[in-house]
Every structure is written in structure tokens, then in C-alpha cells.
Amino acid sequence: MGCDCGLGYLAMKLEHTHMKIHEVSTNIWEIPVTEKEGMQVPARIYASPKILEEMDSGVFEQITNVACLSGIQRYAICMPDGHWGYGFPIGGVAAFDQHHGIISPGGIGFDINCGMRLIRTNLTYDEVQPKLEQLMSELFRQVPAGVGGKGFLQLNKSEFIHLVSDGVDWCIANGYGWPQDRERIEEGGHLAGADPSKVSDKAIKRGIHQIGTLGSGNHYLEVQVVADDRIFDRQAAETFGLFGKNQVVIMVHSGSRGFGHQVATDFLCVFEKAMRKYDLKVKDRQLACAPFTSSEGQDYFGAMLCAANAAFANRQVITHRIRESFRTIFQKPPESLGMEIVYDVAHNIAKVEPYTINGKRKDLVVHRKGATRAFGPGHPDVCPRYRKTGQPIICGGSMETGSYLLVGTEKAVTDTFGSTMHGSGRTMSRTAAKKKIKGADLRRRMEKHGIVIKSVSLSSLAEEAGMAYKDISDIAETVEQCGITKKVAELRPIGNIKG
């Protein structure tokens, strides 16, 4: 690492990239437009020097590729949990002019509206621990995980189309949620503008039996504990329903399942053709895109919103099954157990949001891929219950370490298109992780630490070992130092279900 204070900023020479990168303010690093042909705006990486140094080379290539996309505004941004993905890096944020910019499935991901949900309870660790094994077995039975998992909902095509049109509203109307759940979900769990006529039959066939299932990869259902000494902002925690004292909460990480994956696959092919039609060039084929206002762009947006609604509905049906599992094990109604949703956030999505660019209010198409919306206190899109405090942000760490609840800030809105981190970010590939640890050994190690594991696949378990991830506390600390979020509480795992 080198330093060139004569230029008025810190500059780092990173071994794994040839690009010049300099620190514009504490923990905010910029790659200028001169570093890659075609860059329309600089790339900005939010990271401590240590995190930056440890970032893989793919991040630098991918975020500067994003900076080349047509209509991009201000900066292509990467969060400290950034790592090498496809198209955008995971942790990537970019906003495009609604009239002159593009939309790209590579900036959203195949798992449209992959996201996080946190559910509180009135129970404490001491009350749950004697029944933890039983509880995890029941949850494992109620929430199918892994390859081939089929949900308990048997929907016909017409019902599925209603579900993808209405998201959580469909679930509540059909008895899979409480009316008050709606306001504790980003966009109320129902994005307007979803257009099922733009969705293929293949997408419906892939997803129709999967509502209420977790999937695999880094998806999980985790039972966690909030310790008193891990609450950083007691007032915000209380607003979000957390009281500490080893309170038990449940975190869900899942998305739109095969339905969303097929929507993205279908439009990747459409957009490759559209790029020729609109004479668009990209540095990575996975960044295939179309003008947002083009027929292809609008068709994808309408289909993508269906997938986003399907993901909200998926996490809602999973919530219903979690509540029923707690009813069975604790012999009490979930209402009396205080099983309210804390919040639900999307971290793979594109949305039209207003921002001020060069003093002018503009509607931008904000892409967040492995990044979370982080609106601060007073923002009109934060539900009335949380508006004074700011929007809750749920960040999942590795299943061995822990997770965080954060809150958005006004600075996030002004600096990062209202966005922040989504998790801890990988440091090691899945293939490399499996060579370092066996799933059975990892399970034994976690059980030794009091974490009950239920997993469909031991090899998938090994891919998710703690050593394959960055330290989430470092990531949360970094975004707090940058002022784009504040820490509310750290959540420690006691039980985990994995696909």
C-alpha cells in the first residue's frame, strides 16, 4: 500500500488491480474515468483500507464496467461487502437516467428481489433453548429447502398470476399473513406495475410449485438471539421491536426462486438482441441491457416486478410457516408470542426513485445488486411506524458468525442513491471453500458452539463456512463510518436451516 499525500488524497497501489484508486474521503475510494476506456462516470468503492486491499480483482473490473453503461449518473458504487459476481459485482449500486439510460438484468441478478426478512418474538433464549432441536426440526419440515423443494401451496396458473401481480396483498387476502405485516415490508410487499403478460410460460412452470421454499446457496432460515450488550442504538431497537435480554428473532434470506431466475434468463436473451438493435456496447455479456424506455426495457421491468412480488410473497408464506411452527412447538398463538415482522428488504432489484442530480430532481432507475435500500429518518417512502427513526436494514452474515440490523440515514440518500451493504461478502469461492472444509466437520464445529444445523446438502453447507466470508462487523463498522447507515443490533445465530 502506498501513499501520495502530495496529491491531496491517499492513493493505494493494490497488487490485484492495475487501476489507480484514491481515497476521496475516509473509507471512500474512487477510480477515475481515465482508468478504463468508455467509463462515463468514476467508480466509487466504500471500504476500509483493509477491506479494499482484500477485495478480489473482479470487483475493480466489474464496477468499472458498470461505470461504462449508458445514462449512468454520478458514480458506479460498490459497497464494502462487494465481491466478484456476474455483470455487476455483488454489492454494486448504479442509477440510470430514466429517459436516456438503460436497465440491465445483470445489475439485478437472476434472483430478482432476493432479500432479507426479520421476525421478532417475545421469547428469550432461555425459553427457546430446551426446545431448540424440536423447533429447528419443525421449521425444517415446514419450510422446504434445497434442490427440488416444493412449497405447500398448490396454486393453479390463474392463482399464481394473481400472486405475482399482488405480492404480499395476495398472501394476506388468502390467510398467509396479518394485515399489519404489509407496512413492515419494503414497498408494502406489492410493487405496482407488475405485468404478468410479459412473463413466459416457462417462468410460471418453474416457479408455480416453489412459493414457500428457501432454495440453496447462501439462502437460509436462521433463529438468532439479540443480546443486551449487542444493541448499539437502544431507541431504534425498541422502535423495531427489539428489547435485547437474549430475545429470539428469526431471519429469512430467500428470493423469487425459479420464477425470477427464468424471467432473468428469458430477458438476457432478449437484451442481447436489443443491444444490436439500439447499438449498445457492454464490457461483459452479462451486462446486456436495453434503454429503459424501449419496449424491451419496459417488458423486462414489468416482468421483473412480477418476480419481485413473487419474492415478497415467498418470504411471506415462509413467515406464515414459521409462525405455525412456533405455534406447534410453544403451544401458543403466534400473536401472543409477538411474532411481528421487523422488516423485509430487497437486495437484488431495480426501482424508479427520485434523486437530485446537479440541483435538478430526476427519476432514476436505481439498480441494487447485493445492496440494500437505506432511506433515512423522515423519508416519505419509509412507513409511518419507522419514519422518525429511518428504514430498518437487515444484513446477513455467515451462518457461523452473526448478522446485523442497521438503520438508514439521510446521507445514504444524498451519497449512495439511498443504498448500503447487504451482508458480509465472500472472500473465497465456493469451490475453494469445499476444498478447505467438509460439511460434516463444519456442522460438528457449529453444534459445539450451540448452533443447531439442519441442512439438505453437506456440500452446500461447506460452501457457506464462516472462513469463506468477510467479517460482517468490519463491514457494518465501515458503512457506519461512511455515514450511510447506523448500527442498531448484532444478531447471533442459535439455529440454521440451509438448502
Binding site: W84, I90, G148, Q210, H261, D284, S429, V456
Partner: protein
């Protein structure tokens, strides 16, 4: 002869592989082997179901992409894991694939792996090096 290997240091959030074959058919079979093994250990899957598939494409690269994407589709639509495939490829003014896909519905006796979400175009490449066909594929996990 066909072969594949997983690549350690590419797209660390996902799974990347390189597939090789002396003929286009061998390349498509090798890539399918890698995908199938990512989803479940094929030795643990019995051939209780068979699906027949026909695809056409303007070039071999797109044919491989469509072939692998069909396997991912079947995995979800039929809740199926695979043990093996047969492939016949014909090159006319376009490329044509006929395939038989054998496998079973998901059972708890199988050694399951990752629920592959999609075939990506990131670093996607099909080339011929003079003696064999080589493909690089990144799977979204």
C-alpha cells in the same frame, strides 16, 4: 474424450467450470456432466425418469447455453435431479441438438448439491483450440 473441471478463483459468489470435448457432442456432454454434478452427485440418482429434448441454434455457443438452461429449467419444473444424458448434435445451416436426459424426482436418499439458479453469460466462452472444443461457464448459485 470429454472432461470438466471446476475453477477455483473465478466469480467467487458462484461456481465456474471448464468443459472440454474433441467433438461438439462431447463438449455438450461434458458441460452437462459438470452442471449435473453441481446439482447432485449423479451416482446417487437412479434413472427413473427420461426426458427427450430437441433444440436448434444459430451457433454452437448459443446451443450450449440453451442446452444447459433447459437442464436448469427441468430441475425446477419437474423437481428433478439427473444421472446422465445422451446427446446428438448435427451441424446444418444451423446447429441441432437431440438429447435424452435421465434422472429422478428429488429424494432424501440422493446426495444433493447446489440449487443452480441460472447459466450466466459472464466470461461465457466456447472456442476450438485446434484439437478440442473448450467452454467456460459460470453458474449462478
Amino acid at each position: 474424450m470429454r472432461s470438466y473441471c471446476f475453477l477455483d478463483n473465478i466469480a467467487i459468489a458462484d461456481i465456474a467450470f471448464e468443459a472440454r470435448g474433441e467433438t461438439p457432442e462431447e463438449l455438450l456432454l461434458a458441460a452437462a456432466d459438470a452442471l449435473i454434478a453441481t446439482i447432485a452427485n449423479p451416482c446417487s440418482v437412479r434413472p427413473r425418469q427420461e426426458h427427450v429434448l430437441q433444440l436448434t441454434s444459430c451457433d454452437l455457443s448459443e446451443l450450449l447455453f440453451a442446452w444447459l438452461s433447459e437442464l436448469v429449467f427441468l430441475k425446477d419444473a419437474e423437481a428433478m435431479v439427473f444421472c446422465d444424458t445422451d446427446v446428438t448434435v448435427r451441424e446444418k445451416s444451423y446447429w441441432e441438438l437431440s438429447a435424452r436426459i435421465r434422472g429422478d424426482s428429488v429424494q432424501n436418499t440422493q446426495q444433493l448439491g447446489s440449487d443452480v439458479k441460472a447459466i450466466t453469460k459472464h466470461m461465457y466462452d466456447v472456442s476450438h483450440n485446434g484439437s478440442e472444443w473448450v467452454a467456460i461457464v459460470v453458474l449462478d448459485i
